[in-house]
Protein backbone atom coordinates (compact mmCIF):
# COMPACT_ATOMS: atom_id res chain seq x y z
CA UNK A 1 0.00 0.00 0.00
CA UNK A 2 2.88 2.38 0.68
CA UNK A 3 4.05 1.89 -2.89
CA UNK A 4 0.56 2.88 -4.03
CA UNK A 5 0.76 5.96 -1.84
CA UNK A 6 4.08 7.06 -3.31
CA UNK A 7 2.90 6.30 -6.82
CA UNK A 8 -0.34 8.12 -6.17
CA UNK A 9 1.42 11.22 -4.91
CA UNK A 10 3.93 11.18 -7.77
CA UNK A 11 1.09 11.15 -10.25
CA UNK A 12 1.38 7.62 -11.57
CA UNK A 13 -1.97 6.15 -12.55
CA UNK A 14 -3.46 4.03 -9.78
CA UNK A 15 -4.25 0.55 -11.03
CA UNK A 16 -7.97 -0.06 -10.80
CA UNK A 17 -8.89 -3.61 -10.00
CA UNK A 18 -12.45 -4.74 -10.33
CA UNK A 19 -13.91 -7.49 -8.23
CA UNK A 20 -14.81 -8.02 -4.64
CA UNK A 21 -12.84 -8.58 -1.50
CA UNK A 22 -11.98 -6.31 1.37
CA UNK A 23 -8.49 -5.44 0.16
CA UNK A 24 -9.82 -4.51 -3.28
CA UNK A 25 -12.39 -2.26 -1.60
CA UNK A 26 -9.69 -0.64 0.51
CA UNK A 27 -7.58 -0.07 -2.58
CA UNK A 28 -10.47 1.67 -4.33
CA UNK A 29 -11.13 3.93 -1.35
CA UNK A 30 -7.42 4.60 -1.21
CA UNK A 31 -7.32 5.53 -4.90
CA UNK A 32 -10.00 8.19 -4.29
CA UNK A 33 -8.10 9.52 -1.27
CA UNK A 34 -4.81 9.57 -3.22
CA UNK A 35 -6.51 11.46 -6.05
CA UNK A 36 -7.79 14.07 -3.59
CA UNK A 37 -4.43 14.47 -1.88
CA UNK A 38 -2.69 14.74 -5.24
CA UNK A 39 -5.11 17.43 -6.40
CA UNK A 40 -4.61 19.21 -3.09
CA UNK A 41 -0.81 19.05 -3.39
CA UNK A 42 -1.07 20.72 -6.78
CA UNK A 43 -3.83 23.27 -6.09
CA UNK A 44 -3.13 23.91 -2.37
CA UNK A 45 -6.59 25.30 -1.79
CA UNK A 46 -8.22 23.26 0.98
CA UNK A 47 -5.75 22.33 3.71
CA UNK A 48 -3.85 25.60 3.46
CA UNK A 49 -7.06 27.63 3.84
CA UNK A 50 -8.11 25.54 6.83
CA UNK A 51 -4.74 25.92 8.53
CA UNK A 52 -4.48 29.67 7.94
CA UNK A 53 -8.06 30.14 9.14
CA UNK A 54 -7.30 28.04 12.24
CA UNK A 55 -4.23 30.11 13.11
CA UNK A 56 -6.14 33.31 12.47
CA UNK A 57 -8.94 32.12 14.75
CA UNK A 58 -6.47 31.39 17.58
CA UNK A 59 -5.12 34.93 17.27
CA UNK A 60 -8.62 36.46 17.14
CA UNK A 61 -9.73 34.48 20.20
CA UNK A 62 -6.49 35.48 21.94
CA UNK A 63 -7.28 39.14 21.30
CA UNK A 64 -10.91 38.71 22.30
CA UNK A 65 -10.20 37.11 25.68
CA UNK A 66 -6.95 38.87 26.59
CA UNK A 67 -7.27 40.67 29.95
CA UNK A 68 -10.95 39.64 30.14
CA UNK A 69 -10.52 36.11 31.45
CA UNK A 70 -8.55 35.54 34.67
CA UNK A 71 -6.96 32.29 33.46
CA UNK A 72 -6.64 31.49 29.79
CA UNK A 73 -6.95 27.75 30.53
CA UNK A 74 -10.62 28.45 31.31
CA UNK A 75 -11.51 29.27 27.70
CA UNK A 76 -8.96 27.11 25.87
CA UNK A 77 -11.16 23.93 25.69
CA UNK A 78 -13.96 25.84 23.99
CA UNK A 79 -11.57 27.68 21.70
CA UNK A 80 -9.86 24.48 20.58
CA UNK A 81 -13.08 22.70 19.63
CA UNK A 82 -14.74 25.74 18.07
CA UNK A 83 -11.68 26.21 15.85
CA UNK A 84 -11.67 22.55 14.82
CA UNK A 85 -15.39 22.69 13.96
CA UNK A 86 -15.33 26.02 12.10
CA UNK A 87 -12.06 25.51 10.25
CA UNK A 88 -13.18 21.97 9.42
CA UNK A 89 -16.34 23.21 7.69
CA UNK A 90 -14.17 25.28 5.34
CA UNK A 91 -12.40 22.19 4.07
CA UNK A 92 -15.27 19.72 4.24
CA UNK A 93 -17.52 21.50 1.79
CA UNK A 94 -14.69 21.63 -0.75
CA UNK A 95 -14.35 17.83 -0.81
CA UNK A 96 -17.49 17.48 -2.91
CA UNK A 97 -18.01 21.13 -3.80
CA UNK A 98 -14.80 21.15 -5.84
CA UNK A 99 -16.01 18.09 -7.77
CA UNK A 100 -19.28 19.86 -8.60
CA UNK A 101 -17.52 23.10 -9.58
CA UNK A 102 -15.22 21.28 -11.98
CA UNK A 103 -18.03 19.03 -13.25
CA UNK A 104 -16.06 15.96 -12.21
CA UNK A 105 -18.56 14.45 -9.76
CA UNK A 106 -20.34 12.46 -12.49
CA UNK A 107 -16.97 11.19 -13.69
CA UNK A 108 -16.03 10.14 -10.20
CA UNK A 109 -19.35 8.33 -9.77
CA UNK A 110 -18.87 6.57 -13.12
CA UNK A 111 -15.60 5.06 -11.88
CA UNK A 112 -15.92 1.29 -11.30
CA UNK A 113 -16.03 1.63 -7.53
CA UNK A 114 -18.78 1.40 -4.95
CA UNK A 115 -20.25 4.78 -3.88
CA UNK A 116 -19.28 3.97 -0.30
CA UNK A 117 -15.64 3.54 -1.40
CA UNK A 118 -15.75 7.08 -2.82
CA UNK A 119 -17.17 8.25 0.50
CA UNK A 120 -14.44 6.53 2.50
CA UNK A 121 -11.76 7.90 0.20
CA UNK A 122 -13.06 11.43 0.70
CA UNK A 123 -13.32 10.72 4.44
CA UNK A 124 -9.66 9.68 4.55
CA UNK A 125 -8.45 12.82 2.76
CA UNK A 126 -10.63 15.04 4.98
CA UNK A 127 -9.26 13.32 8.09
CA UNK A 128 -5.75 14.00 6.85
CA UNK A 129 -6.50 17.73 6.42
CA UNK A 130 -8.16 17.95 9.83
CA UNK A 131 -5.26 16.26 11.59
CA UNK A 132 -2.89 18.58 9.76
CA UNK A 133 -4.94 21.55 10.97
CA UNK A 134 -4.75 20.32 14.57
CA UNK A 135 -1.01 19.79 14.22
CA UNK A 136 -0.63 23.49 13.45
CA UNK A 137 -3.23 24.84 15.86
CA UNK A 138 -2.12 23.04 19.06
CA UNK A 139 1.40 24.56 19.25
CA UNK A 140 0.03 28.03 18.50
CA UNK A 141 -2.50 27.63 21.34
CA UNK A 142 0.41 26.58 23.57
CA UNK A 143 2.22 29.82 22.72
CA UNK A 144 -0.75 32.20 22.73
CA UNK A 145 -2.58 30.85 25.79
CA UNK A 146 0.31 29.22 27.64
CA UNK A 147 -1.77 26.04 27.91
CA UNK A 148 -0.27 22.66 27.09
CA UNK A 149 -2.80 20.55 25.21
CA UNK A 150 -0.26 17.85 24.33
CA UNK A 151 -1.63 15.44 26.89
CA UNK A 152 -2.54 11.87 26.08
CA UNK A 153 -6.27 12.02 26.88
CA UNK A 154 -6.81 15.38 25.15
CA UNK A 155 -5.07 14.09 22.04
CA UNK A 156 -7.11 10.88 22.18
CA UNK A 157 -10.36 12.87 22.47
CA UNK A 158 -9.25 15.09 19.62
CA UNK A 159 -8.47 12.00 17.54
CA UNK A 160 -11.85 10.35 18.20
CA UNK A 161 -13.78 13.62 17.88
CA UNK A 162 -12.10 14.44 14.57
CA UNK A 163 -13.03 11.02 13.19
CA UNK A 164 -16.67 11.54 14.13
CA UNK A 165 -16.63 15.05 12.72
CA UNK A 166 -15.08 13.95 9.43
CA UNK A 167 -17.56 11.05 9.10
CA UNK A 168 -20.65 13.22 9.50
CA UNK A 169 -19.05 16.19 7.72
CA UNK A 170 -18.03 14.23 4.62
CA UNK A 171 -21.50 12.69 4.49
CA UNK A 172 -23.25 16.05 4.69
CA UNK A 173 -20.80 17.53 2.19
CA UNK A 174 -21.95 14.86 -0.28
CA UNK A 175 -25.55 15.65 0.60
CA UNK A 176 -25.23 19.43 0.12
CA UNK A 177 -22.93 19.30 -2.93
CA UNK A 178 -25.78 19.78 -5.39
CA UNK A 179 -27.90 22.25 -3.45
CA UNK A 180 -27.80 26.00 -3.87
CA UNK A 181 -25.64 27.93 -1.40
CA UNK A 182 -23.87 24.78 -0.21
CA UNK A 183 -21.08 26.76 1.48
CA UNK A 184 -23.54 28.29 3.91
CA UNK A 185 -25.80 25.22 4.03
CA UNK A 186 -23.17 22.77 5.30
CA UNK A 187 -22.43 24.41 8.69
CA UNK A 188 -26.15 24.91 9.34
CA UNK A 189 -26.79 21.20 8.77
CA UNK A 190 -23.61 19.97 10.41
CA UNK A 191 -23.18 21.92 13.64
CA UNK A 192 -26.38 20.85 15.46
CA UNK A 193 -25.54 17.22 14.73
CA UNK A 194 -22.01 17.70 16.08
CA UNK A 195 -23.20 18.98 19.47
CA UNK A 196 -22.53 15.67 21.30
CA UNK A 197 -18.95 15.54 19.98
CA UNK A 198 -18.46 19.19 20.89
CA UNK A 199 -19.81 18.75 24.42
CA UNK A 200 -17.80 15.58 25.04
CA UNK A 201 -14.62 17.14 23.66
CA UNK A 202 -14.95 20.39 25.60
CA UNK A 203 -15.80 18.64 28.89
CA UNK A 204 -12.95 16.19 28.59
CA UNK A 205 -10.41 18.85 27.65
CA UNK A 206 -11.61 21.07 30.49
CA UNK A 207 -11.50 18.17 32.94
CA UNK A 208 -7.92 17.27 32.03
CA UNK A 209 -6.80 20.92 32.19
CA UNK A 210 -8.45 21.28 35.62
CA UNK A 211 -6.52 18.24 36.77
CA UNK A 212 -9.61 16.17 37.56
CA UNK A 213 -9.15 12.37 37.91
CA UNK A 214 -9.08 10.63 34.53
CA UNK A 215 -11.35 7.81 35.70
CA UNK A 216 -14.35 10.20 35.78
CA UNK A 217 -13.62 11.44 32.26
CA UNK A 218 -13.43 8.14 30.38
CA UNK A 219 -17.24 8.29 29.86
CA UNK A 220 -16.61 11.09 27.36
CA UNK A 221 -14.14 8.95 25.45
CA UNK A 222 -16.70 6.14 25.36
CA UNK A 223 -19.35 8.56 24.02
CA UNK A 224 -16.96 9.75 21.31
CA UNK A 225 -16.03 6.17 20.40
CA UNK A 226 -19.65 4.99 20.20
CA UNK A 227 -20.60 8.09 18.17
CA UNK A 228 -17.80 7.28 15.70
CA UNK A 229 -18.87 3.65 15.36
CA UNK A 230 -22.60 4.35 14.92
CA UNK A 231 -22.10 7.08 12.32
CA UNK A 232 -19.50 4.96 10.53
CA UNK A 233 -22.04 2.17 10.11
CA UNK A 234 -24.90 4.58 9.31
CA UNK A 235 -22.84 6.40 6.67
CA UNK A 236 -21.72 3.14 5.06
CA UNK A 237 -25.33 1.98 4.99
CA UNK A 238 -27.04 5.18 3.79
CA UNK A 239 -24.39 6.73 1.50
CA UNK A 240 -25.51 4.66 -1.51
CA UNK A 241 -28.91 6.38 -1.32
CA UNK A 242 -27.38 9.82 -1.98
CA UNK A 243 -26.28 9.01 -5.50
CA UNK A 244 -28.85 6.46 -6.57
CA UNK A 245 -30.72 9.04 -8.64
CA UNK A 246 -27.71 10.01 -10.73
Amino acid sequence: MSRDLLGGLLGEPVKMRTGGGFSAYMRKAFAVAAKDVRAELRAKEVASTMIVFGLLAVVIFGLAFDLRVPQSAMVVPGILWVIVLFAGVLGLHRSFGAEVDRDTLAGLLLAPVEPSAIYFGKLASNLLYLFLLELFVLPVILVMFDTNLFQFHILLALFLGTIGYAEVGTFFAALTANSRARESMLPVLLLPVMVPVFMAGVSLTAGILDGRPVSGLTTWLVILGVFDCIFFVAAYWIVDLIWDGI
Partner: protein
Protein backbone atom coordinates in the same frame (compact mmCIF):
# COMPACT_ATOMS: atom_id res chain seq x y z
CA UNK B 1 -56.02 14.41 -2.86
CA UNK B 2 -58.75 16.99 -2.96
CA UNK B 3 -60.83 17.07 -6.09
CA UNK B 4 -61.94 20.59 -6.84
CA UNK B 5 -64.57 21.12 -9.49
CA UNK B 6 -66.54 24.18 -10.47
CA UNK B 7 -70.27 23.66 -10.28
CA UNK B 8 -72.42 26.65 -11.23
CA UNK B 9 -69.67 29.05 -10.21
CA UNK B 10 -69.41 27.54 -6.72
CA UNK B 11 -66.29 25.74 -5.55
CA UNK B 12 -67.02 22.32 -4.11
CA UNK B 13 -64.33 20.52 -2.20
CA UNK B 14 -64.89 17.27 -0.34
CA UNK B 15 -62.32 18.25 2.31
CA UNK B 16 -63.91 21.65 2.97
CA UNK B 17 -66.55 20.42 5.43
CA UNK B 18 -64.40 17.99 7.43
CA UNK B 19 -61.53 20.51 7.69
CA UNK B 20 -63.86 23.30 8.78
CA UNK B 21 -65.28 20.99 11.46
CA UNK B 22 -61.75 20.14 12.58
CA UNK B 23 -60.85 23.83 12.72
CA UNK B 24 -63.88 24.64 14.87
CA UNK B 25 -63.08 21.66 17.09
CA UNK B 26 -59.49 22.87 17.45
CA UNK B 27 -60.67 26.34 18.41
CA UNK B 28 -63.04 24.88 21.02
CA UNK B 29 -60.27 22.58 22.23
CA UNK B 30 -58.04 25.57 22.92
CA UNK B 31 -60.83 27.20 24.96
CA UNK B 32 -61.23 23.95 26.91
CA UNK B 33 -57.46 23.69 27.42
CA UNK B 34 -57.29 27.22 28.84
CA UNK B 35 -60.28 26.53 31.09
CA UNK B 36 -58.81 23.24 32.32
CA UNK B 37 -55.34 24.65 32.92
CA UNK B 38 -56.39 27.86 34.63
CA UNK B 39 -59.65 26.97 36.44
CA UNK B 40 -60.27 23.23 36.61
CA UNK B 41 -56.89 22.18 37.98
CA UNK B 42 -56.39 22.60 41.71
CA UNK B 43 -53.32 24.39 42.95
CA UNK B 44 -50.09 22.51 43.52
CA UNK B 45 -49.92 21.84 47.25
CA UNK B 46 -46.18 21.95 47.81
CA UNK B 47 -45.61 25.29 46.09
CA UNK B 48 -46.47 28.84 47.10
CA UNK B 49 -46.63 32.37 45.68
CA UNK B 50 -45.45 32.94 42.12
CA UNK B 51 -44.28 29.36 41.76
CA UNK B 52 -47.80 28.09 42.49
CA UNK B 53 -49.34 30.32 39.82
CA UNK B 54 -46.56 29.70 37.35
CA UNK B 55 -46.94 25.95 37.75
CA UNK B 56 -50.19 26.17 35.73
CA UNK B 57 -48.18 26.77 32.58
CA UNK B 58 -47.06 23.17 32.97
CA UNK B 59 -50.26 22.00 31.22
CA UNK B 60 -49.50 24.10 28.12
CA UNK B 61 -45.82 23.18 28.31
CA UNK B 62 -46.71 19.48 28.26
CA UNK B 63 -49.32 20.01 25.53
CA UNK B 64 -46.70 21.59 23.28
CA UNK B 65 -44.19 18.93 24.28
CA UNK B 66 -46.40 16.00 23.31
CA UNK B 67 -47.46 17.57 20.00
CA UNK B 68 -43.92 18.61 19.05
CA UNK B 69 -42.74 15.07 19.73
CA UNK B 70 -45.66 13.80 17.66
CA UNK B 71 -44.65 16.07 14.76
CA UNK B 72 -41.05 14.90 14.88
CA UNK B 73 -42.08 11.23 15.08
CA UNK B 74 -44.33 11.74 12.04
CA UNK B 75 -41.41 13.32 10.21
CA UNK B 76 -39.19 10.32 10.95
CA UNK B 77 -41.92 7.93 9.78
CA UNK B 78 -42.49 10.06 6.65
CA UNK B 79 -38.75 10.17 5.89
CA UNK B 80 -38.31 6.42 6.29
CA UNK B 81 -41.52 5.88 4.30
CA UNK B 82 -40.21 7.99 1.44
CA UNK B 83 -36.90 6.12 1.28
CA UNK B 84 -38.77 2.79 1.17
CA UNK B 85 -41.73 3.63 -1.09
CA UNK B 86 -40.29 6.61 -3.07
CA UNK B 87 -43.64 8.36 -3.37
CA UNK B 88 -43.94 12.07 -2.63
CA UNK B 89 -46.94 11.50 -0.32
CA UNK B 90 -44.50 10.34 2.36
CA UNK B 91 -42.27 13.34 1.75
CA UNK B 92 -45.19 15.71 2.25
CA UNK B 93 -46.08 13.93 5.50
CA UNK B 94 -42.49 14.37 6.71
CA UNK B 95 -42.42 18.04 5.73
CA UNK B 96 -45.76 18.85 7.35
CA UNK B 97 -44.69 16.97 10.50
CA UNK B 98 -41.45 18.96 10.77
CA UNK B 99 -43.11 22.31 10.14
CA UNK B 100 -45.99 21.90 12.56
CA UNK B 101 -43.73 20.17 15.10
CA UNK B 102 -41.33 23.12 15.00
CA UNK B 103 -44.15 25.58 15.81
CA UNK B 104 -45.01 23.55 18.90
CA UNK B 105 -41.27 23.27 19.61
CA UNK B 106 -41.13 27.06 19.90
CA UNK B 107 -44.18 26.73 22.17
CA UNK B 108 -42.13 24.46 24.48
CA UNK B 109 -39.31 27.01 24.52
CA UNK B 110 -41.54 30.01 25.30
CA UNK B 111 -43.68 28.32 27.97
CA UNK B 112 -40.60 26.68 29.48
CA UNK B 113 -38.71 29.98 29.70
CA UNK B 114 -41.69 31.76 31.30
CA UNK B 115 -42.06 28.94 33.82
CA UNK B 116 -38.35 28.69 34.53
CA UNK B 117 -37.94 32.33 35.59
CA UNK B 118 -40.02 32.15 38.83
CA UNK B 119 -39.07 28.51 39.52
CA UNK B 120 -35.36 28.31 38.68
CA UNK B 121 -34.78 32.09 38.80
CA UNK B 122 -33.37 31.99 35.28
CA UNK B 123 -34.90 31.79 31.83
CA UNK B 124 -32.38 29.33 30.58
CA UNK B 125 -30.07 26.57 31.77
CA UNK B 126 -28.12 23.90 29.93
CA UNK B 127 -30.25 21.11 31.28
CA UNK B 128 -30.29 17.88 29.19
CA UNK B 129 -33.90 18.27 28.11
CA UNK B 130 -33.51 21.94 27.27
CA UNK B 131 -30.33 21.23 25.34
CA UNK B 132 -31.83 18.29 23.46
CA UNK B 133 -35.05 20.14 22.63
CA UNK B 134 -33.14 23.20 21.39
CA UNK B 135 -30.75 21.17 19.28
CA UNK B 136 -33.62 19.14 17.81
CA UNK B 137 -35.45 22.34 16.84
CA UNK B 138 -32.24 23.72 15.30
CA UNK B 139 -31.82 20.48 13.34
CA UNK B 140 -35.34 20.83 11.96
CA UNK B 141 -34.84 24.51 11.14
CA UNK B 142 -31.76 23.39 9.18
CA UNK B 143 -33.94 20.72 7.56
CA UNK B 144 -36.40 23.35 6.33
CA UNK B 145 -33.59 25.56 5.00
CA UNK B 146 -32.02 22.56 3.29
CA UNK B 147 -35.29 21.73 1.53
CA UNK B 148 -35.47 25.28 0.17
CA UNK B 149 -32.12 24.90 -1.55
CA UNK B 150 -33.13 22.10 -3.92
CA UNK B 151 -35.35 22.32 -6.99
CA UNK B 152 -35.91 18.75 -8.14
CA UNK B 153 -38.78 17.35 -6.08
CA UNK B 154 -37.50 13.79 -5.83
CA UNK B 155 -33.92 14.80 -5.07
CA UNK B 156 -35.24 17.17 -2.43
CA UNK B 157 -37.39 14.47 -0.89
CA UNK B 158 -34.56 11.92 -0.88
CA UNK B 159 -31.90 14.25 0.51
CA UNK B 160 -34.08 15.72 3.21
CA UNK B 161 -35.24 12.24 4.26
CA UNK B 162 -31.61 11.12 4.52
CA UNK B 163 -30.75 14.22 6.53
CA UNK B 164 -33.72 13.77 8.87
CA UNK B 165 -32.81 10.16 9.62
CA UNK B 166 -29.09 10.87 9.97
CA UNK B 167 -29.63 13.90 12.19
CA UNK B 168 -32.13 11.98 14.29
CA UNK B 169 -29.37 9.49 15.18
CA UNK B 170 -27.46 12.23 16.98
CA UNK B 171 -30.35 13.30 19.25
CA UNK B 172 -29.86 10.47 21.83
CA UNK B 173 -26.15 11.34 21.95
CA UNK B 174 -26.97 14.97 22.62
CA UNK B 175 -29.30 13.95 25.43
CA UNK B 176 -26.74 11.58 26.93
CA UNK B 177 -23.91 14.14 26.75
CA UNK B 178 -26.06 16.86 28.28
CA UNK B 179 -27.26 14.46 30.98
CA UNK B 180 -23.70 13.85 32.11
CA UNK B 181 -23.18 17.62 32.13
CA UNK B 182 -25.83 18.36 34.78
CA UNK B 183 -29.56 18.35 35.39
CA UNK B 184 -32.04 20.47 37.37
CA UNK B 185 -35.15 19.74 35.29
CA UNK B 186 -37.77 17.96 37.41
CA UNK B 187 -38.63 14.42 36.35
CA UNK B 188 -42.41 14.37 36.78
CA UNK B 189 -43.50 10.93 35.69
CA UNK B 190 -40.86 8.47 36.79
CA UNK B 191 -37.51 8.38 38.42
CA UNK B 192 -36.29 10.84 40.98
CA UNK B 193 -33.67 13.51 40.66
CA UNK B 194 -32.16 14.69 43.92
CA UNK B 195 -30.91 17.93 42.37
CA UNK B 196 -34.20 18.76 40.62
CA UNK B 197 -35.74 22.12 41.53
CA UNK B 198 -39.37 23.15 41.10
CA UNK B 199 -40.66 19.60 41.33
CA UNK B 200 -44.30 18.99 42.27
CA UNK B 201 -46.43 15.91 42.61
CA UNK B 202 -49.32 15.09 40.30
CA UNK B 203 -52.60 15.04 42.20
CA UNK B 204 -55.89 13.63 40.81
CA UNK B 205 -57.09 16.87 39.16
CA UNK B 206 -53.61 17.44 37.76
CA UNK B 207 -53.66 14.09 36.00
CA UNK B 208 -57.13 14.79 34.56
CA UNK B 209 -56.17 18.33 33.49
CA UNK B 210 -53.04 17.01 31.85
CA UNK B 211 -55.07 14.45 29.92
CA UNK B 212 -57.55 17.16 28.81
CA UNK B 213 -54.89 19.66 27.69
CA UNK B 214 -52.82 17.03 25.88
CA UNK B 215 -55.94 15.84 23.99
CA UNK B 216 -56.86 19.45 23.14
CA UNK B 217 -53.36 20.23 21.86
CA UNK B 218 -53.40 17.01 19.82
CA UNK B 219 -56.63 18.15 18.11
CA UNK B 220 -54.98 21.52 17.32
CA UNK B 221 -51.93 19.66 16.02
CA UNK B 222 -54.04 17.44 13.78
CA UNK B 223 -55.91 20.43 12.38
CA UNK B 224 -52.69 22.29 11.57
CA UNK B 225 -51.04 19.14 10.23
CA UNK B 226 -53.86 18.28 7.85
CA UNK B 227 -54.09 21.84 6.59
CA UNK B 228 -50.37 21.95 5.85
CA UNK B 229 -50.40 18.48 4.31
CA UNK B 230 -53.33 19.37 2.07
CA UNK B 231 -51.67 22.64 1.10
CA UNK B 232 -48.51 20.76 0.09
CA UNK B 233 -50.58 18.25 -1.89
CA UNK B 234 -52.29 21.08 -3.77
CA UNK B 235 -48.92 22.71 -4.41
CA UNK B 236 -47.67 19.44 -5.86
CA UNK B 237 -50.75 19.28 -8.07
CA UNK B 238 -50.13 22.78 -9.37
CA UNK B 239 -46.52 21.83 -10.11
CA UNK B 240 -47.72 18.73 -12.01
CA UNK B 241 -50.19 20.73 -14.07
CA UNK B 242 -47.56 23.38 -14.80
CA UNK B 243 -45.13 20.70 -16.00
CA UNK B 244 -47.80 19.33 -18.33
CA UNK B 245 -48.64 22.79 -19.67
CA UNK B 246 -45.10 23.90 -20.40
CA UNK B 247 -43.86 20.66 -21.88
Amino acid sequence: MASTTTVHGKRSDIWYGPLLTLDILAGLAMVVAIWAGLFFAKEATNLAGDEQIAQRIFYFHMGCNITATLGFLISVIGSAGYLVRRTLVWDRIAQAGVEVGTIFGFGIMVTGAIWAKPTWNTYWTWDPRLTTATITILIYLAYMLFRNGMDNRHTRARFSAIYALFAFLSVPFTYLSARIFRSIHPVVFNGSNADAQGAFSIGPTMGQTLLITISCFTILFLALFFHRWRQLSLEARIADIREELYQ
